[in-house]
């Protein structure tokens, strides 16, 4: 297989992936820390290596509105956002999924104000979990690049027709550099043909798009949207497997299981923290502790089957996540427990919440989590905040 090795930031990897996917229009309102993605795409448009229109819009709300306009004429749209920008875009985010426009967007996961913070956690995109977008969380720059290509293939599948959000941890992935393999354009062109749809504005076949429905019909459209999202599970698996055959890299579908087979305790992760947990798993395995890591890649559609299979095999599960649904628990934890409820056996699960507002999650924290999981048969605390800088008063 022909390929080129490059040393780039996560943002640049996204931009290279987007260029390979040949979008017709990029609508951009640069917000930290997604900025470099759209800066590089602007460079590509200027130097002619990407034949696309570059729309510099006045807000994230406009960026998504423009992307919907692009998609409504059957063209391929890309935009990127982060944090408050995603929330400002929220109204259009729901609109795009209801309209079934297969827009692809990169989101740089970043904390939400206030206290004001530019650093990374995952509360932005997880707060949009019910918006009807497919959500993937990548671990490194290579996965980010590869997912930009896979994203269009999944989103534009006629049975799916659902927008796709590729999430990268802010700064940890977006602004750090690592080597990547850059696929050949001709191979990507073959893998990802141009988007074709009958549901577009056309003089030959005029259609009313994004129409209104009364209560007599509205629920049916929402059910179809839900069914399309559930059906996308198979498409995601197929596209990932096909990508593996063509480009030599696949990501195991919706989840990735590492050393979980005979594990006494498994820690579930989302995003870039997986790499650190994997290192700790290797260290602890050398010391004889049977531990593993289970990377959740997709939050929507949620990998229910994979989580249930893990719950059958492992009796103690931890969920490590960089978000909190105030007054309840981490959102990933809620989703995991919901899937585990369908099992006959009772799995002990515990939620570890940390990394909020960009705080580091260290190997020491992860070792302590594994020891907590291994040394307790029952968990009195359901949610534990890790890496606190001070004591939590009782």
């Amino acid at each position: 297989m022909k390929s080129n090795r490059k040393f780039v930031s996560g943002d640049e990897a996204v931009a290279l992936g987007v260029r390979l996917a040949r979008p017709h229009i990029i609508s951009a309102y640069p917000i930290t820390p997604q900025t470099i993605v759209v800066e590089r795409l602007a460079d590509f448009v200027e130097d002619g290596s990407l034949k696309a229109e570059y729309m510099h819009v006045e807000s994230e709300h406009s960026a998504m509105a423009a992307a919907m306009g692009v998609s409504s004429v059957g063209a391929r749209a890309f935009t990127a956002t982060s944090s408050q920008g995603l929330l400002h875009m929220a109204e259009c985010v729901h609109y795009a999924s209801g309209a079934r426009f297969p827009i692809v967007m990169m989101n740089a996961n970043r904390s939400i104000a206030v206290p004001w913070s530019i650093y990374g956690d995952q509360r932005d995109s997880l707060s949009m979990l019910d918006s009807g977008w497919i959500q993937v969380y990548v671990e490194d720059a290579q996965e980010a690049l590869d997912m930009m290509i896979q994203a269009y293939k999944v989103a534009e599948n006629p049975e799916v027709m659902t927008p796709f959000m590729v999430n990268l941890d802010g700064f940890v992935l977006t602004h750090t550099y690592e080597p990547i393999e850059l696929p050949e354009q001709e191979m990507v062109d073959q893998f990802l043909p141009m988007y074709q749809t009958g549901n577009k504005m056309s003089m030959d076949e005029p259609k009313s798009l994004c129409f209104s429905t009364s209560p007599a019909d509205n629920q049916e459209f929402k059910v179809m949207q839900h069914m399309a999202m559930e059906g996308s599970v198979d498409v995601i698996r197929q596209v990932d497997a096909e990508y593996g055959k063509v480009f030599g890299r696949s990501y195991h579908g919706l989840t990735e299981s590492y050393r979980c087979d005979d594990a006494d305790a498994v820690l579930m992760t989302l995003g870039s923290v997986t790499g650190t947990v994997r290192c700790v798993v290797d260290e602890l395995r050398e010391k004889g502790f049977k531990v593993g890591v289970f990377k959740i890649r997709f939050m929507r559609p949620f990998p229910k089957d994979e989580v249930m299979a893990l719950g059958k095999a492992v009796s103690k599960l931890g969920v490590l996540e960089k978000n909190i649904s105030f007054g309840n628990e981490g959102t990933v934890f809620t989703n995991v427990n919901s899937a585990l409820m369908a099992l006959d056996t009772k799995v002990q699960s515990k939620n570890y919440v940390g990394g909020l507002g960009g705080r580091d999650i260290t190997k020491d924290h992860i070792r302590a989590i594994f020891m907590d999981l291994l040394n307790h048969d029952r968990f009195e605390e359901r949610v534990e905040f890790i890496g606190m800088g001070c004591e939590i008063n009782e």
Partner: protein, 103 residues
């Protein structure tokens, strides 16, 4: 071509719905004038057929008759009164719906 009202059959299966909220243009599935309080009434004797009302109507409900006068499609007229306001020969009068019989 003006959109036509076609009767709408409620689907009995999900597969009978369009796969996305997008469907063939050019027809409507219900009349849409229920909120009107005043309706424009055209005095054919006064009307000179200038079609200014046709140009200004925001809902496109004004049509031209064979003898170059105008008629209004009441199924879709919202009663905004722009046609009456703009008519230079005062051929259009806004009449309260309930008072129509009194004319």
């Amino acid at each position: 071509m003006r959109p036509k009202v076609k009767s709408y059959k409620q689907p009995s299966k999900l597969s009978e719905y369009p796969s996305t909220p997008a469907f063939e243009s050019g027809h409507l599935v219900s009349k849409n004038a229920g909120w009107r309080t005043f309706k424009p009434v055209v005095d054919a004797e006064k009307c000179v057929g200038c079609l200014r009302c046709y140009l200004v109507c925001p809902d496109g409900v004004v049509a031209r008759t064979k003898d170059n006068k105008v008629e209004i499609e009441y199924d879709f007229c919202k009663g905004c009164g722009i046609c009456a306001h703009e008519c230079k020969v005062e051929a259009i009068t806004m009449v309260k719906e309930a008072d129509e019989d009194e004319i």
